[in-house]
Symmetry: D2
């Protein structure tokens, strides 16, 4: 890879025909053509290492070969592609395997709902059923939470720029401080409990609490096991439903299949999307405890609940979780990423901030927020795709495919290190 | 096809593992395995003619071979599958072709927004941008409108059963009577205009009006050309944005590519989904006049805006519209369906109601509402998939793939006729 | 009265110290000092005939002597003035007399609630209890309705200027066309019924309908007896509560004590304020059928629920209704007003519009809306206080005290006639 | 006073005819007839000392003789009683005197708005104008705040029982922890500032913050001067309007005329009601900085904005503030109350809780919440009217008229002490 000579394809068509809302194509200015596992190539043949992984939708890599075989085979045999919510063989296989590999070993019997093809559908459905079960309307959510762009999900999303996009008041949600929000000394779960116990707090008994175990968009903030356990206990004690949004952190991103597995909790409702579709195909599911699955038939519907290519890919992807091996592989990569970040932090103490995250979503939170974005630019020039997150876009976020080859990972971390070097040079020359 | 001996596959897996919200699989109780154009087969080999077409997502038929070739080819060459909103070759091709075949001939220069993979995303984005452009919050919508299940779209959807599912108050929408709602003598557009002109009406100047040219879920109600033109004029005069939801009726369902083409109007915002994805793949777009495309980058986002398989399929599907031929073919089928329905109505006057709809979405509105559902049951027993719609599910709705072979169409209409015969026999024996 | 020489007091103090929101003092630019029955005098001794009557709060005239005697006596004997909602002798007297004179003769057993001292409190309480009784949130209201300025009441008020003042979205209300709104040929009650019967109309089953029998602020629109009866029947059939806002029209303004007495209906909830306080003193009550009076103690409260001067005055004012005499007197005045308006209309056909209203609230709706305001200006110059109403302030509204002496009434009507003459002269000189 | 033989009047009329919502008459079961300064007498001649003072509406005592003289004189000379918002001599006097005695000495030039006759009207108007000035909708409020019962005010009131009475979702308000809410170690103003500075907190830039310097209904929680000053500074820095609700605490309740005078802040908007009417007469005002007084004429209105008896009484009551004497008198009483409470606390340590409040609103917050209510019962049996407050009604609240005679105060405090003795006896016998 000789990035110095990369000639980039033109974006004229996109600039002329696509809406101004487009964004990632402004950060990563090229036209991509091919992809395989952790690598992308643009139409000029330039190669990129992908530390973004479709914002978590490509945990199993781009164009995973094992999955692709299944897809092509299914297409060639005229398998049903689109089925609304009618029963198909492909859906049956997915359901069976999901129960066998994911639910059963945990002793769970959640029902699987197909709420539509994307994460925000899973969240909208979760909020609806929580409100129906409890007959209450308010949902508690957390500072810097991200749950989606449709109005229901947006109401529980913290980002003010996204919220203003609604153009209407977002209601029926109340924000609570996330774990560690007000410093280590303030116990935010105690604060939430006090508000719930105080009939004069202005906070009604909510239908549900919706939470991420690690906040991806919010800046790689992690909730401790204890905090999650306490949250789960408070919910149970007060008859509040616990909704775990594992859309970005699920499917192994933090190590285990569910990001909250190590806390030993069993949420009432779980939202999955992104990598559940295995191959980057649109798919989402909402898991609901059977006693709370009180939907009327068709009370929530949608055209693309039956994307069978998604079911085929998803079923194959679940095979990664049949044994412990995959999680062990993730652990090895987690360690390498952590060591590399710590090395970088040590080498460039002037510009480095805090290391955040866990599993295969880790990053650097810069004290000087704009450095994260500049690092991303430099890295891209050197062939590495790296995004930022956090309320001030202050975190440079590493989230390669979980399946990334070790040498590609090493190569990518090398580019990161070089980019930090350049960043440090730029900063010291100011 | 000998329906008497059809042995059906069991639905045990679905009954045990899937949420109670599932619905179509309760009406059409079998497990589908294969599909081609207008036919489906279940795992026992039973054959069904599809007069439902994925609720409008399969205008080009199941597993359209021309499109499939493109998909398989794309998969095999490692084309980028998932790209968020980064630029890809597949997206470029779609954009270019959409401009060339759809926008340019109409003299339009709408920008194309990718709001997420499903119709409700397209509507949510449309509502957001209309509110942003105008700085106003209210949106007018119509009795029996259907626009989607996420909170923003649900607020402009008429169906009370779906609305109650929200569990919260749905606000910022005001319902107006659709064309013909209060009988032929009451000019509903004049009523709307009076309310808008009266500063004491309680109806504020809205950001937008959202409308379907034909209401699919609402019972195949059609707006006249004159009514739509007047609506467009009122909107223009008052600075209200006109949002045309062509998710179900677009892509040729009523004949021309857009269902409102014959009214000669140019809506400010147009929502497309369902068949825009060509092959039943999740995809949606929101078209926005350039002067209204004032989004900030990333103000609305989502994981599955870049489903490249959808772009590949969509680009190929657009080829159907390069010449007039496809629309002529639809016209021929429209006529046959109309004649067949009129014949049925004449033959069974005791039970028949009104014929509704146009193009390749037509149906019978029964005076005795439950007959529509019973007709659907009988038809399914005889190998025809036929859904109902309308506020009382009183309309038996025919919407086969636009690409249906003439003999399959004849065959399907024959089953419909037989089913009506059986229905009439059941009714007279009461 | 020689209006040519009236020298007006200065408004400097008000202009300097009072908020810009002040309004009537801009129309009637003087400083008032004394008042008696239907006459006011300013600090310069100029005399005015009052055809406005405190917007309906002075049905028994300014400083009604019989009532004043009671007030002074009560004050001098140290009667409790302010009592929150504690029991007092004055309140007991009012309650007893209200039951005896108003409720009992109608065979009603509504409970009397003291919701706070002004009309909007009565409406807020009515909406709350209706929502509590039904467990539903939406309230139907009517075009050009006026119910008050606090957020709950404002949400059911049609005037867009007032609504915009809220600064937030007003929700949980749906506006229906009032009787005659869309012309005589359109049956607005049938329209409302159709919407309520249609599960796809977007209109949920409401908690209540709130209505005025005559819309005072809305432009003196009267609902027919039949229309009100049908409304009452629909409400009863569907379990919707009927709230009759008789704040401006009650206490005899239209003839009988309640403006809807001639329709023979018994609303579930009735709001009274304005003249219920007898002497223009702040007071309001909400009448609730006993089976709907399911308030918890203190669930709604307020500091000025126990304005005992109001109770003393109100109790005395009720004496007007012990016999039929007062209503007969009102009828005589109603006829004189009507004849005078008809005479004026005949004399100045070029500028006259429609005569509206009934009882002692009648007026002229001008086709050229601004004439109403100009008429009011001219009349004031000539010593007559006359306000406008209607969405375009197009109605010149006559609402003198019900107790106005016949010769003062004649005098006031004379000024009106002269003012019309001048108005006509101005118009023809354009 | 020999309470053993008190025979109480019957409440039959109230029980039969008044709504179930009545509450104080259930705690203080008698029918009151006469009152003077800090004493009340029922219809049986029983005497009561009033430590409740109309919930703060009777700071100048019951039937204050000096004020009464003015009222009777005004009534007898036919002064205008009801004037909507037309200019009257009585209003002119009030405005002039309010400026002279209250505004001018503080160097303020707030405009005076008459928003309607009760506190909730003042708050509704304050919220409206704050939203209009800023173009924003959210208002921050505090845990255990109380601002009124109409929907706008209720949305910023913490009490869950009152909030549920709304029957609809209360929106556009966000609750913040009041000073000391989460213990002394947590700086709640720093927490609020962090939320406002964090674009991911979910808390938008608000139109206003509404706050009480001492929370009366909320349990006599006092904000420190520093906390208020910091709040004022944050508001100023961020362009947020500061609304000070001084309805219960203003007019000298805490010592100075405004409860926040000692903090040296100048709120953008101030709400006054209760004792502003001098004699317990319904009246409220909203003070608005002139640059924020951007109301359109009539944008907010109401029937009882012109209660001239209120103006007459209010103008006379302001005379109390012409010199420092009245505040000194309050200080003497404050000290006596404090000493008495401390004495009681020392004498009955087993049952006593914390002493709260300042000025002439002080009380005992019991650890065992129900003791406060029981104390109130015992005291009433002994001829003392004493209410509770706080989210669990755990605070016994002393708020006698500011004008209470020293010996009556001593007498009342004596009853309190006796009541504590009895309470302690009851508790130890459990």
């Amino acid at each position: 890879m000789n990035n110095q000579v990369m000639e980039k394809p033109t974006l004229t068509v996109f600039n002329n025909l696509e809406s101004e809302v487009r964004s990632y194509c402004r950060s990563f200015q090229t036209v991509f053509e091919k992809a395989r596992n952790a690598k992308l190539w643009d139409t000029q043949g330039n190669e990129y290492i992908d530390f973004f992984a479709g914002a978590g939708a490509l945990n199993y890599g781009h164009n995973n070969e094992k999955i692709r075989d299944k897809l092509v085979n299914y297409l060639m045999k005229d398998g049903v592609t689109h089925s609304l919510d009618m029963a198909t063989e492909a859906k049956e296989t997915f359901l069976t395997r999901f129960q066998e590999i994911i639910l059963k070993p945990r002793g769970w019997d959640h029902k699987v709902m197909f709420p539509g093809p994307t994460g925000t559908n899973a969240v909208e459905a979760a909020l609806k059923i929580a409100r129906k079960v409890t007959g209450r309307s308010t949902v508690l959510c957390f500072t810097n939470a991200f749950h989606g762009m449709s109005l229901g999900s947006l109401a529980v999303t913290g980002n003010s720029f996204k919220r203003q996009g609604a153009g209407v008041d977002l209601s029926n949600s109340v924000f609570m401080p996330y774990d560690g929000y007000f410093g280590e000394d303030v116990d935010t779960m105690a604060y939430m409990e006090k508000l719930l116990d105080d009939p004069g707090s202005g906070i009604p008994l909510p239908a549900a609490v919706i939470v991420e175990a690690v906040q991806g968009e919010g800046g790689l903030n992690s909730a401790s096991r204890q905090w999650l356990q306490r949250l789960a206990r408070i919910c149970q004690d007060k008859g509040i439903l616990l909704i775990l949004d594992d859309i970005q952190m699920g499917c192994g991103r933090t190590g285990p299949f569910f990001s909250f597995d190590d806390a030993g909790i069993e949420p009432d409702i779980i939202c999955l999307s992104k990598s559940i579709g295995g191959y980057g195909l649109p798919m989402a599911i909402t898991l609901i405890k059977p006693e709370m699955d009180i939907w009327e038939p068709g009370e929530h519907n949608g055209t693309f609940r039956g994307n069978n290519l998604g079911f085929v890919a998803a079923a194959e992807a679940l095979e990664y979780w049949r044994t412990e091996d995959f999680q062990l592989d993730i652990g090895i990569r987690e360690t390498q990423i952590r060591q590399s970040l710590e090395g970088v932090a040590k080498e460039y103490p002037e510009i480095s901030g805090t290391i955040r995250g866990r599993g295969m979503i880790q990053g650097i939170a810069f004290d000087k927020a704009e450095l994260a974005g500049r690092l991303s630019e430099i890295a891209f020039e050197q062939g590495l795709i790296l995004e930022t997150s956090g309320p001030h876009s202050e975190v440079a976020k590493l989230m390669p495919p979980l399946t990334i080859e070790m040498n590609t990972l090493t190569q990518g971390l090398g580019i990161l290190k070089n980019s930090m070097k350049q960043l440090e040079a730029e900063e010291s020359s100011l």
